[in-house]
């Protein structure tokens, strides 16, 4: 006989909720806990605010981010909400365009990494054996490679760098930990009887993974994507800060780069470097906090009842 939790056994079967679910049982239960979870609400609000700014912001500005001609080094005023840079560009315009670029890179890079991670993780976890050994070796190799160094070198060699190229590069190097995590989960799920039952119903391996295993991990996959999204934004900001970002687009890291190069810190031009830095911190931090909150929502055992 299995261990019997007296509480679960005794509760009226209609209302019984099992312990750790990878996926919530009823929509309204998830929403109920979601809205009560402080971390989730705060995290999402912060990220949401930045997202709104990123979408709406560029419409509020008439000029382009690289446009010159404004008074140089001006603090925030009604004409320039976040002031101007040392070379006479509007900081606010740069800021909102940079925000947009960050979100785009994050989403695209995160997606690419998630897809690769899932493909490799599911295959290695489900198939096992030689295939798993091979894929694990590949994962470990890519994991161990100093990503930033590689990205720097690759970026340095590319003469023209676009936003998409940066996102793809980041995606191609940040998938290993996701692949490992997914592989581990797949291993444990693949030994469950409902997978055997699916096989007995004639399902092919891809069908089994997509229809049986992935839905059971959906909350986990979601959380993984959020982390990859945040990580991609951070890596992109780092690259941009080093001057290896897209050569044709404004980004928050590039703003910081230019600010440092122009000695904004020494000159006290706080309006130039604080907004981008704060924005990156807020978005990535907000995403991580959301992640923790979501984890609590999905896993009943972590909830603080």
């Amino acid at each position: 006989m299995t261990t019997v939790d007296p509480v679960l056994e005794a509760i009226d079967p209609e209302q019984r909720v099992s312990t750790p679910d990878p996926v919530p049982r009823r929509r309204n239960e998830v929403l109920y806990f979601a809205f009560r979870n402080r971390k989730l609400v705060i995290g999402l609000s912060v990220v949401g605010l930045m997202l709104v700014l990123a979408i709406v912001g560029p419409w509020l500005t008439s000029a382009g981010p690289f446009e010159f001609g404004y008074p140089t080094g001006e603090p925030p005023s009604r004409a320039h909400w976040l002031g101007t840079t040392a070379s006479g560009q509007d900081v606010f315009t740069q800021f909102v365009h940079g925000l947009r670029a960050s979100f785009l890179v994050g989403a695209l890079g995160g997606c690419v990494a998630a897809l690769i991670g899932m493909a490799i993780g599911f295959t290695a976890g489900y198939r096992g054996g030689a295939v798993d050994e091979l894929l694990s070796m590949l994962t470990n190799v890519v994991l161990v490679i100093p990503t930033l160094a590689v990205l720097i070198i690759v970026a340095a060699y590319l003469t023209v760098r676009g936003l998409v190229a940066e996102a793809l590069l980041i995606g191609a190097t940040s998938w290993p930990w996701a692949a490992r995590a997914i592989r581990a989960q797949t291993f444990s799920l693949a030994s469950r009887d409902f997978v055997s039952l699916a096989r007995l119903s004639g399902a092919r391996p891809t069908q089994v993974v997509v229809r049986e295993i992935a839905p059971n991990m959906s909350s986990y996959l979601f959380l993984t994507f959020i982390l990859l999204f945040g990580g991609a934004i951070l890596t992109a900001a780092t690259l941009d800060f080093l001057g290896l970002g897209p050569s044709n687009a404004m980004s928050l890291g590039l703003m910081l780069n230019t600010a440092v190069v122009s000695s904004a810190l020494q000159l006290g031009m706080w309006w130039w470097f604080i907004p981008p830095g704060l924005a990156i911190t807020a978005i990535v931090g907000g995403l991580y906090v959301t992640n923790v909150g979501l984890d609590e929502v999905f896993n009943p055992k972590l909830r603080e009842t």
């Binding site: 006989m1 007296p6 509480v7 005794a10 509760i11 009226d12 079967p13």
Partner: protein
Amino acid sequence: MSLAVDNLRVHYRTLRGDVKALDGVSFTVADGEIMGLAGESGCGKTTLGKSLIRLDGRMRHVEGSVVLDGTELPIADDRAMNRYRFREVSLIPQYAMSALNPTRKIGKLIGELLAARGESYDDRFPELTRRLSLVGLDEDVLERFPIELSGGMKQRVVMVLSTLLDPSLLIADELTSALDVSTQKAVAELLVEFRDREFVRSTIVITHDLAVLYQVADTILVMYAGKLVEKASAEEITTSPVHPYTQLLIASMPEVGTRFADERRTGIPGRPPSLLRPPTGCRFRARCPLAFSKCAEEPPFVEVAPRRYAACWKAAA
């Protein structure tokens, strides 16, 4: 040693209200008695076992008392119970053998447990080795890790460990369920031996397996939906049960030798009631073939014959 439980009520707190897992239970265990506590899942037997030694975070002691050797156990007070645990009352929880820390050698594990109780490992060492050899384990088992031992060996280590300080009362929860049939017999017989050698005074054996209880227990107490249903000697319960639930339960168990074609057994239709909002009256009423009008009133757990107790209007009649 003697144990007297009087009207014990223990509820579980949940978001939807109190689950009345143990709802007014009274019984006694005499010195040297091995009492079996039987019932199906959700009947409250594990809750009863746990509440005699430690209420976990969700449990709430609502009413009732537990008196061990004349002193009332402060079961609601976790810290006050510390004095009694392991020395007076000891528990072998369900799946204890899986709960052994895989990174500790057995000897170290025992040492840490003794130190936590203020006992010296070295002082107890000779007795420990003596008991280990009694259960058929070599002294070098102390130098091994749990993963190196088989299920039966681990269960025996746990038994020796739990009884090292000679407790008055030992509570064994599903001791033999996860074991093979051959080891089951050895471990169950050890329970009797421990009592005979006075390592423990009395034992409460909690299990769903009535057949094992028949082999080793002196008396059997049957529970259903948080209430006591019948208590009698092991022989009487199995040969002439009086409560309909016990009768149906025993009738549903095929013996080795019963064949489907010759002698078909039947189960009990329906399911146990929800303990969140338990029904009034006898809790077995909905599934009982003998139910009649008086069953709407809850039958008390009374003595229906010398040292035989049952909670049924038909049995009391």
